[in-house]
Structures are given as C-alpha cells and as structure tokens.
C-alpha cells in the first residue's frame, strides 16, 4: 500500500482541514479573481538603475521568504547600515562569477495567494533578444530608470520591444528619488517624457511611480516623505494586472495540437483554447479547409465539460469528422482565422547568423510548421529614434519588418487581434534553431481552399497509388510525393492535404 492515499472517503484532501489549506494557499475562489492570479512581470533596466535592489526589495517586502533566507541576508549590512537587498537575487551573480551566462532567469515569488513570476534578463549581451523573449511571456513590465538620469535611449528601446511583443501594461519605476531630494518637479519631468514615449505604442496602461528601492518608498508601502505623490505603490499597480484568460471577450480559437484516438471510434482534437470559449453544440470552422462541424463533446480526464474556456487544455470531439490534424485552427464561423500564404511580420532577428536569403526556413505558427519560400526584409526599426529605415537585410538583435511567402497556406491571425494565433517564430530547417520571433501584422488572404488548385487527400491516395499502404508509413509518403511531382511537372497546381512539413519541404 502507498501513503495511505487510496481514493476513499478519508483521503485528507476531502477533509475540512485540507480544504482550508488549499484555499488559504492558492485555491481560494472569492469574488476577487485577481487574488489567486499568476502575474508574469518583466523587469527592464540595468544594474546601474538599481534593478537587483528593486527586485530584492519586492521580494523582501511581499514574498513569503524562508526565515533562514531573511536571516542570512540581514547579516550583511551596507556601509550606511542598510540591508543589502540585492543579495536576495545574487544567486545569479554567483553564477556569473563562475563564468556561466544567464540569459533569462525565472523567479517564482509567492506573496500570499498571489504568484509573481519575475522574468529578468540580467546580462547586457544579446539584450534585445533576451528582453524580447521575456516580453513574450509578460503580463506587465516594470521599466526602471534612475531619477537623476531620467528616460534614456535604452528606455526607448525597452518601450519599443514591449510594444512590438504585445505587452499591454507598463510601469515606469523612477528609482533613486532620494538622490534628487524626492523632488516632485523632477519626477513630473520624467513622467512627461515617459508619456510622450508611451503614446507611440498601444499600451493599455502606463503608470509612472516615484520609488526608492533601498528604503522601500512606494514599492510596497506609500512614501512618508514624497507626500505629493498620491498614486498607487508599485505593488498596488502590479496587482491591477488582470489575470491571464480571465476576460473572454475575443472570438474562440483553438489551434489543434494533435489527434487523440481511442478504439473503436473516438477521434478527438486536442488543444488549448487560446481565445474566447466554446460550448457543446456550437459550430466550429476549420480555416484551412473551410469545413464546419458541431462540438459533440468536450472531453477531459476529469469528466466532460459543457464549455471550454480560454486557457483550458481540452479534447474536442466533433459530430462530423473533418479529417483535420495538427496545424488547424478551430474558430467560430462568424470570425474565423485567416488562411494565407503571404504575410507581413515584425521580427526580432535572434540568430547570430545574419539574415540570408538562401537559408531554408520554416514558419512556426501556434501548432503548424510550414516551409517558407521567401523572406524579404523591407525595413529596420531604429531603436534609438523609433523610426523605420528602409533595409533589405538584418543581423542579430535587429527588429525588422518582413514580407514572408510560404510554400503552402497556414492558418493565422493578426497578432493585434489574437496573440495566441498571431505570434510566430522562424526555424532553421537544417539546424532546428529558432532564428527569429515575431508577430503577424498583415495577412494577405489566400484564395478559397476549394478553388486553390488540386488537393490530394489521404483518402484519394489510399484508394489510388497508395492502396494497401499504411497511411502513416514512409512508403505512403514516398508515393504521395512522387505523384505530386508528376502533377507539378504537368503544370497542375496540386497540394497535399496533409500538414506534414516534411512532405511540404520535400517536393519544393
């Protein structure tokens, strides 16, 4: 017998005490759904601005830190007698001393029921790349400046990357206010610079807060000296971030990850709802084929659901087998995703190898991997002036606008409409490396799928040249590609229905 955990009535989790434990820690269901949220916070700024101290201050003031950690940090005092809060984050400094490169560090901070995931890129190397990666996971970003220096070129760079990667909420922490005498005029100047900067990006909320990380003023408690400031503390502002997936105003999207089968006849489409929600009985449309079906069942191991909400990982069983697989995006017919072979994307070039027209690439969408036929860079964003300059190539850490043509259509959304199905990365076909990450800004719709040339379906192949061959076998694929080559040579605009990227790549 195991740890007395048989699934019976006296399992501890069913007791009142367990319920209280679960509730008091994380599972509380109150009217305030923010209370139990996970908030991903990106910190942007350099060590010189006091970033480690600010993160340390956040941890010290709000986190449920182990007592031994507190005791050991409190042992070392700075020359002025204060606790060296940066020591709370110095695990990474120690690593740097050992010659280990940290590109992105994740810290999990529990403050009561709330979890902050603090994403930080401590290094200076590859800063754009690392910050962009961090920004793609962030719900809110803290941009840090030194009150003596105000908004700097690097602040503009940060704002541009946050804007590009779709971070909607930003906080400017004006640190070291004590070094400018807590002067309101100085703060208002910086705040005005910040406003003119953020006005250029589609931030939903941008707040500037005067703080002193070393003393904690306006971090977790209101400042007793800067009484002229009446806005929220940094923590209060962070807590205003709505939890992910809580608002479902957008249309339904579920990129299909894989097909789940159970003999004799269960065939379901597994995926995570990236937007909106879907209920049993509702009609969904597969953008790639244009075909529709109604949701018969929403299956999970914990029992069937009536509704699948944004953020939930489910399996949808449809009333009609649409013969779709990984790469498809299910949507509601009133607002489907877009099927396209040509798109404009904003890209952060991450590869250390410069842009090369000859390089074979794949475009990776939510769940599809499509061979790219060409990428044409048209402009580069100058991160200092925030203007776009005509360009035809790029090197790592560049932010560019590019026109991408694909070898076969992919289902996508504009990133501005749907983050989950409008984000993309470019993958090197040879090495598998992720060479760029970005967002779809314009989609040039492909013609109606039924009219787009001749589509070789698996069923057709199985009845014809591939008769008697297992559809998942290499032989099936070999024969399909051979037939496709013949058709193409004869001038037929043919395509395989399957989403297999190897097929797509092999006949090009």
């Amino acid at each position: 017998m195991g740890a007395a955990l048989a699934k019976d009535a006296d399992h501890p989790a069913t007791g009142a005490a367990a319920k209280e434990l679960l509730c008091s820690s994380a599972e509380i269901t109150t009217g305030d759904e923010n209370a139990q949220a996970i908030v991903h916070v990106l910190t942007c700024g350099s060590v010189d601005d006091g970033k480690s101290t600010l993160i340390g201050r956040l941890l010290w003031d709000v986190a449920d830190l182990p007592e031994d950690t507190r005791a050991s940090v409190a042992e070392t005092l700075l020359p002025d007698g204060r606790i060296d809060l940066s020591r709370l984050v110095d695990g990474l400094a120690a690593e740097r001393a050992q010659g280990i490169t940290i590109d992105i560090a994740w810290r999990y901070v529990d403050a009561g029921a709330r979890r902050y995931v603090i994403i930080d890129s401590p290094g200076h190397e590859q800063y754009t790349r690392n910050m962009a990666t961090g920004a793609s996971h962030a719900d809110v970003a803290i941009m840090l400046v030194d009150a003596r220096h105000g908004v700097k070129p690097q602040t503009r760079r940060h704002a541009a990357i946050l804007g590009l990667l779709g971070v909607r909420r930003v906080i400017l922490a004006v640190n070291k206010m004590d070094l400018v005498g807590g002067n309101e005029t100085r703060f208002r100047e910086i705040e005005a610079d910040f406003r003119s900067l953020t006005a250029r990006f589609a931030f939903e909320e941008a707040a500037a807060i005067p703080v002193v990380a070393t003393t904690g003023d306006n971090v977790a408690r209101s400042s007793s000296t800067m009484t002229w400031y009446e806005g929220p503390t940094l923590i209060e502002q962070l807590n205003r971030t709505p939890p992910r997936g809580s608002v479902e105003a957008a249309s339904f999207r579920m990129p299909v990850q894989l097909v789940v089968r159970r003999p004799p006849d269960f065939r379901g489409l597994a995926g995570t709802v990236t937007s909106g929600s879907i209920a049993v009985g509702q009609t969904v449309i597969d953008t790639t084929s244009g075909r529709r079906a109604a949701v018969r069942r929403i299956a999970t191991m914990d029992g069937d659901l009536e509704v699948a909400h944004c953020g939930q990982a489910v399996v949808l069983q449809l009333d009609t087998d649409l013969d779709i697989a990984r790469g498809a995006i299910l949507a509601t017919p009133d607002d489907p995703a877009i099927r396209t072979k040509r798109l404009d994307a904003r890209l952060v070039w991450m590869s250390e190898t410069p842009f090369d027209l000859q390089r074979r690439l794949f475009l990776r969408s939510a769940t599809d991997l499509v061979p790219v036929s060409s990428v044409r860079v048209s402009a580069r964003l100058d991160l200092e002036t925030l203007t776009e300059i005509e360009a035809s190539d790029c090197v790592h850490n560049d932010v560019v606008l590019a026109a991408i043509t694909l070898r076969r259509p992919v289902a996508l959304d504009r990133f501005a409409d749907h983050k989950g199905t409008g984000a993309l990365v470019l993958v090197d076909a040879l090495t598998g490396a992720t060479v760029a990450g970005g967002t779809a800004v314009a989609l040039h719709e492909a013609a109606d799928p039924e009219a787009a040339g001749f589509r070789l379906t698996t069923a057709m192949l199985a009845e014809g040249v591939c008769a008697g061959v297992e559809p998942t076998s290499a032989e099936f694929r070999r024969r399909a590609i051979a037939l496709l080559k013949v058709l193409k040579a004869a001038g037929v605009d043919a395509a395989l229905e399957a989403n297999d990227e190897e097929m797509g790549g092999a006949y090009s």
């Binding site: 195991g2 740890a3 007395a4 955990l5 048989a6 699934k7 399992h11 501890p12 989790a13 069913t14 007791g15 005490a17 367990a18 434990l21 820690s25 994380a26 269901t29 031994d68 695990g91 990474l92 120690a94 690593e95 280990i100 590109d103 992105i104 560090a105 994740w106 810290r107 999990y108 529990d110 990666t133 793609s136 996971h137 809580s246 608002v247 479902e248 339904f252 990850q257 894989l258 789940v260 379901g268 995570t272 299956a299 191991m301 953020g311 939930q312 990982a313 399996v315 991450m350 794949f362 990776r364 769940t367 983050k419 989950g420 984000a423 076909a429 090495t431 598998g432 490396a433 990450g437």
Partner: protein, 303 residues
C-alpha cells in the same frame, strides 16, 4: 460572448503542462517519460495521462535504477506501472554494477556519473529516444532558473547553456538538429508547494517514505540517513537509532537525508512543507559535493 471565469493557479499550471506534453508528443518521433518515482514524477505521470485522455499515454516510462533506491520506491514503481497498465522500461548500468560502483565506497559525484548519468545516456541511445520528459522545476536550483521547457542536447547528450534556443510565447520549437535530442520539462513553472498542493487536490498516491514513521537511522556529517538494507558499514561511534523521520525528496538511500518530523499524513506533510524554512535540495547530498555541481552535472548529461 463575454464572461469571466476565475481559473486557479493549479488549473493554469496543469493546462500549461498538458500543452507541453502534447507539443512534445506531436513533434518528437520517439519520446520517453523519465520516471524517478518521487512526487514530481507522480505529478508528471498524472499530467501525461490527462494530456492524452481518453487515449493511453503514447510513450513508455523509463526508470534509471541505480540499484540503491529505497525498497519502498521500487515497490511503488512496480505497483503504479501495473495499476495503470504502463509500458515501463527499467535500465541499470550493468558495467557499473559489475565494477561494483556504489555510493558508499565511491565519491557521490563518481557514483552519480556512472549509475545515473551514464546509465541514462545508455538507455536513451539503446532505445533511440529523441526526447525525454523530466520533472525538473525552475525553482529547484539556480542553474535551472534559466532552463528552457524544451532543452536540447548534443549527440553526446551534453547541454550547452550558452547556445539555448529562445522560447517565445508558448511556441515550443521541437525541430532537432543532426544528432540532437531533447529534454522536456512540463513542470518548469511549478514550485514545490504547487506540486504538493496538486498531489492533495488530485488525491495522488505517493511513496510512503514521504510520510513520517519510525525508521532505523544513523547520524552522519550532520544529516540523518535511513538504513534501507544491510549494505551500509557503520563508522566507529555510529549507532543505529530509531527516529520518526520522513523525506522531502527521494533518491538513492545512502545519499538522501531524512528530516525528523511528526507529519504522518499527507496533509501534515504539505502544511509542514509550505511553512518550510529551507530549500528542498538540501536533502540531496550530491549537490553539496562540489561548487556549481548541478550546472556541471547537467553539462555532462545529468538530467
């Protein structure tokens, strides 16, 4: 349609892990789940079942048996595999066993290298697995704070922390370069507290060693070791003392420190853990063997 639904932290983490399992299963040719019997593996296995339900888990489980696991762990492993009808592969580094490599006569780092790291490489190569799921969490240890969800290894199973792929959004790029294989960490964003809360919520069965009981112990170098069989030689002055102890993490018994505790049921364990004053890896003696131990082990292919 506009509605608001509060989703709990564990729901969010569970959905993310399921997404990761599905992404890996869809992209890798022959994945395997590294099953180490502990609480993290228990949660990992449960999430794998959820990810593919109502289908069976579409890959086998692999246990690297060092021959020094607690007997309770092995019994639990075999019972779990039988009850859930799992495809379980058990691998021992037979060359290491023949040479008598053990954690008592050899330095923990050498023993771990031979019986765990080398054994893992052997098993992955023998079966041609191109991806292995593991239960590592980023909150466990500093070198893991920067670990990716899909973490790539060279043909020699080495980890190159300087050239990791950027991971943006939840787009997990599983395309392998020549000879590469992947380690996949679905629990990356879980904390120890989350794991225990989930064990409670999902009513999961765990190895009894996690619960306090009277066990034969010795005190060595300031830590408590539980004697699981008669292979340990006592040093002069060492005495076997029955103590009420439990384990916070489980591994090879001569290398895993117990803590004194009265927490004899799961609820008490979780309560005690959530109020813990020290980090969990303190119980693993190999980590203290040398500075930067984990980083080094990982570069050499340790999970």
């Amino acid at each position: 349609m506009s509605m608001t639904k509060p989703i709990s932290r564990l729901d969010v983490l569970e959905a993310e892990s399921i997404h990761i399992f599905r992404e890996a299963a869809a992209q890798f040719r022959k994945p395997v789940l590294l099953y180490s019997i502990g609480k993290d593996s228990t949660v990992l296995l449960h999430l794998a079942r959820k990810a593919f339900f109502p289908q069976r888990i579409p890959f086998p489980l692999l246990h690297i048996d060092t021959t020094w696991k607690f007997r309770d762990m092995i019994a639990f492993r075999d019972r779990t595999a039988r009850d859930l009808g799992l495809d379980l592969i058990v691998h021992v580094n037979e060359a290491g066993r023949a040479q008598g490599i053990n954690p008592i006569d050899y330095a923990p780092s050498l023993y771990t290298d031979v019986m765990k790291t080398e054994a893992l490489r052997q098993a992955l190569d023998r079966h041609g697995f191109d991806a292995a799921f593991g239960g590592a969490r980023r909150d466990e240890e500093a070198s893991r704070a920067k670990e990716r969800v899909f973490s790539f290894r060279t043909a020699e199973h080495r980890w190159d922390p300087r050239h990791q792929r950027p991971e943006m959004w939840n787009l997990l790029n599983g395309r392998l370069g020549t000879g590469e294989s992947a380690r996949v960490f679905p629990l990356s964003n879980w904390t120890e507290g989350d794991v225990w809360r989930y064990v409670l919520r999902e009513k999961l069965d765990v190895v009894p060693l996690y619960l306090a009981a009277i066990r034969p112990t010795i005190e060595r170098n300031g830590t408590l070791l539980v004697l699981d069989d008669d292979r340990m030689r006592l040093a002069e002055g060492e005495k076997v003392v029955p103590r009420r102890v439990r384990f916070r993490t489980l591994g090879c018994w001569p290398l895993t420190a117990a803590i004194e505790s009265e927490a004899a049921d799961l609820l008490s364990v979780v309560t005690e853990t959530l109020a813990a004053r020290t980090s969990e890896r303190q119980g693993r003696l190999i980590d203290h063997d040398q500075a930067g131990a984990m980083e080094k082990k990982k570069q050499e292919g340790y999970f």
